[in-house]
């Protein structure tokens, strides 16, 4: 048997793991007989490995908001406007938001947690993307809550917690990691009996020392309550009315404050204990409304 001689293309296919199986014996035979050829294959494989090592970290770059927005359907298609008008508007809006958001201009960060537009808009987009996904809104389901919380804490670099909203009729569905503009964001998804979903997003604040009170914004029909603490920034989003969302926000805030106050007992493998609770700046409480009632 004397198959086709081994070609240059065979060698490339071999190192790229896409050689047709029927060519394999011929190539392996040639490699066994020709040390120079074997050395070349080794060299090409090393080259492949270093190329992957060089290029793979690029995937970990945080996504600029304008590209996250690009993953959502352009508004033009939902509006009365002719599509080119919508496109132009979207492009103009993206320009305003996106100017200066290059890979290397990080010091000029548009993503300040105190800036309602960018932070809430991203929170609403993320909410819209994942909460609407019936089958796979989360990466890890609530059945593995401990693993989920451990994983997210590790990725965010501080202890995150999933508040228990069962008393309000919302059960934890699960969570996932989401690319934020600057810092990775943990996303927790909750659902009630009517299949309405809420999301809580947590991330490290970009600017330390910019605590804010509760703030509210509506983005694309999604209500977002957000607040910034010393250690973390939170956004609670849902297609609920403002009063319901506010009530839930108060519960979330209260639970997190309590958990922060007793880290050692409730979180066995906790990361370094957060600061004493009394040192934590307390956001101005939202205006007192009716006591939290069961939401349906």
């Amino acid at each position: 048997m004397n198959p086709l001689p081994v070609s240059d293309a065979d060698i490339h296919a071999y190192v790229d793991s896409q050689l047709a199986p029927k060519r394999m014996p011929a190539v392996e035979d040639a490699l066994a007989r020709d040390p120079a050829l074997a050395a070349r294959v080794t060299e090409l494989r090393q080259q492949n490995a270093s190329l992957r090592d060089a290029f793979d970290p690029w995937l970990d770059e945080a996504l600029p908001e304008r590209l996250v927005a690009g993953a959502a359907a352009p508004r033009a298609n939902r509006q009365w406007m002719p599509s080119w008008v919508g496109m132009a508007l979207a492009a103009a809006a993206c320009l305003v938001v996106g100017v200066g958001l290059g890979w290397f201009g990080r010091e000029i960060s548009l993503e300040n947690d105190g800036t309602p537009i960018t932070f809430t808009r991203q929170a609403a987009l993320v909410h819209a993307l994942y909460a609407s996904d019936a089958n796979r809104p989360v990466e890890i389901w609530a059945a593995e809550e401990q693993r989920l919380v451990r994983w997210l804490s590790r990725r965010l670099g501080f202890q995150v917690r999933a508040p228990d909203l069962n008393s309000l009729g919302f059960a934890l569905v699960g969570g996932r990691l989401v690319a934020g503009n600057e810092n990775p964001t943990a996303l927790f998804v909750y659902e009630n009996a009517d299949k309405r979903r809420l999301t809580l997003q947590v991330r490290k604040p970009v600017n330390v020392g910019h605590e804010t009170a509760f703030r509210y914004a509506v983005e694309d029909g999604v209500g977002v309550y957000y607040w910034v603490e010393e250690n973390a920034t939170y956004a609670l989003s849902g297609n609920l009315d403002r009063g319901q969302l506010l009530a839930i926000g108060r519960v979330v805030y209260g639970q997190l404050a309590t958990l922060e106050a007793a880290p050692a007992s409730t979180a066995p493998a906790a990361t370094p204990a957060p600061k004493a609770p009394d040192a934590m700046p307390v956001p101005a409480r939202p205006p007192t409304t009716a006591p939290v009632q069961k939401l349906s």
């Binding site: 050829l37 050395a39 060089a54 970290p57 770059e61 359907a73 890979w103 993307l129």
Partner: protein
């Protein structure tokens, strides 16, 4: 909502998941981070416009790459024309786009940065095939279809790119020089 109902939407989570790879490919094409993001944004807009052409269930990444490649080629042709045939070769345009922090792995930071610099100096046609084949691990046939070029062209571009990189690093290497195998 009526128009959106007529055209089924693209799967947003998958689209979002594809963006980091689109950015990487765009950066390989343009050699510049800001222009890369412009290109991705443009390609995403085209993808939404042409979403009827995407066959659900097929590889979304490959489809997006194809769109982006076409946008890039068209923009480049236009830029060439507008600049009265001023060359846009890789040497001049790759200046700062490749300087990204690389993580320490089995190689030193310096070596990886150096490698990226050399990839940046390859002609765009060669570095694009190299990255699609090696880093994105696409099959040669897929690359040929994506770039609308014959398989033989894919192979020769890949071969030249590899040979150039090999030559650059050959000085420090004990590996014997390449011998053409026929």
């Amino acid at each position: 909502m009526s128009a959106a109902a007529a055209d089924p939407p693209l799967p947003a989570p998958e689209l979002l998941a594809a963006i980091p790879r689109m950015r990487r490919y765009a950066r390989v094409l343009t050699g510049d981070a800001t222009r890369a993001d412009d290109l991705v944004q443009e390609a995403l807009a085209r993808a939404w416009e042409k979403r009827r052409l995407w066959a659900a269930g097929t590889d979304l990444r490959a489809w997006l790459f194809t769109i982006m490649h076409n946008v890039f080629v068209n923009q480049r042709a236009l830029a060439r024309y507008e600049r009265n045939h001023v060359s846009l070769d890789a040497e001049s345009e790759a200046a700062h786009g490749w300087q990204v922090p690389v993580r320490d792995m089995q190689y030193t930071r310096v070596e990886l940065s150096e490698l990226l610099q050399h990839v940046g100096r390859l002609p765009v046609e060669q570095r694009e095939v190299l990255v699609l084949a090696v880093v994105e691990e696409l099959r040669y046939e897929e690359i040929a279809a994506m770039l609308a070029i014959p398989m033989g062209t894919v192979m020769s571009r890949l071969s030249r790119a590899r040979e150039k990189l090999r030559a650059v690093f050959a000085d420090n290497s004990a590996v014997p020089p390449l011998k053409m195998v026929k």
